[in-house]
Subunit: 235 residues, 2 copies
């Protein structure tokens, strides 16, 4: 027996609000027979929750257990996940991998992509990033004209953060979690606290905007970020 191999889709599903899926993502989501998504060790999948309103009920679901922290030891997890997906593709089934935000922007899809792209026809559908969704939710214009814009991970050492922020016009600091205190120290040092805005879980049902001075540093979730909007005067 011979048949066509399936098509792999890395599907950007946006930052959390099911309405922030693109029309393209929705069309493809409904057209495939297999849907893969990352799950935590507690078997939860934020990505699946986002698209739940659109699932047909007739699709094969492939939960992918991924370690929360990436390290060399993560390799077997990705190998196994890629094998699972490849098995469906070899049977001629099209497979969607759900990606929160955008598939190629600080995600985990790339680790599957690099394993599968040489063997299977692959399409990546870009999505709305939480970086943009946060600025919209906060009501702060992010970048003007020729601003120098940066996205920095809160996990970076204070001096790395400080040296970059010092030469940026606007920035977003992602993955705050337990690094909130350190980041605020850097912002204070650079005189950026006045401009900085804090948001938790942008575009998710439990989104929260808190004045940065009132944030409890011990209760900052991983999915929270600080937006430092441009200081440019508007015309």
């Amino acid at each position: 027996m011979s048949h066509k191999i399936g098509h792999l889709y890395g599907l950007g599903i946006g930052p959390g609000d099911p309405e922030l899926l693109t029309l393209k993502a929705l069309r493809i989501l409904k057209s495939v027979s297999v849907i893969a998504y990352p799950i935590s060790e507690r078997q939860q999948s934020l990505a699946r929750t986002i698209v739940e309103p659109y699932l047909t009920g007739n699709q094969i679901e492939v939960p992918i257990l991924l370690p929360f922290k990436l390290a060399e030891s993560s390799q077997p997890y990705y190998d196994e996940a890629a094998d699972k997906i490849a098995a469906h593709l070899h049977q001629g089934k099209d497979v969607v991998v759900l990606c929160e935000g955008d598939p190629f922007f600080f995600g985990t899809f790339m680790y599957l992509y690099t394993r599968l792209v040489d063997t299977f026809p692959t399409t990546v559908v870009p999505g709305v990033s939480s970086v943009m969704a946060s600025a919209s939710a906060l009501g702060v214009p992010l970048t003007y004209r020729n601003d120098i814009f940066m996205v920095l991970s809160a996990i970076l050492p204070a001096d790395s953060l400080a040296s970059r922020l010092a030469v940026a016009d606007a920035a977003v600091i992602i993955k705050l979690g337990k690094h909130f205190r350190k980041v605020c120290g850097v912002l204070q040092q650079l005189g950026l606290m006045e401009r900085a805005k804090f948001i938790e879980r942008a575009a998710m049902p439990n989104q929260k905007v808190i004045p940065i001075g009132e944030v409890n540093p011990d209760k900052v979730p991983y999915f929270s970020l600080i937006v430092i909007p441009s200081h440019l005067m508007s015309i």
Copy 2:
């Protein structure tokens, strides 16, 4: 006579492909009675072209003439555009302003937003940025894990570009146009030409991917960019 004032929407409509509108943007677009969009001096509107398949034909259209280059002298244009939009809002009509990509990310919507947000209820709907759409179209994962990511405008002086790129893990250089030669000089100096990918009009019908060494520097459009993907090895 008294009535409710209208609601203002800054609507991210994505980078060019009409299917890259979000479900939310489409719902709001269809619900309003007034649609405003920037036009060039030649009366063309890329934003209107993107949403054309979805227009009902019964909506009032408000073309906004904006100067291509922003300067102090642009202020009267934005004042006039804001007045036009305000007139509809005062009549109780909801108004959408179409924004290519994301409304708060290197756009022109902010100049209307700051003029209107204190008077009218306003919602900003984030959109897919051409930055993310370009990486997807090129098939290059943009950022991994804790990468330092930057978006830089090609108009910046060579030394500004070089000093930032030297401390970035991944970057996108936007608005290339006539600055292509200068940008390539910087990339050569930093040893980044090998990694750099060029794309014109990402996600638009006339999208073009050209190997960076084969680009004609005299024919680079404004809507083209260079992606320097992360150099991180995948796990």
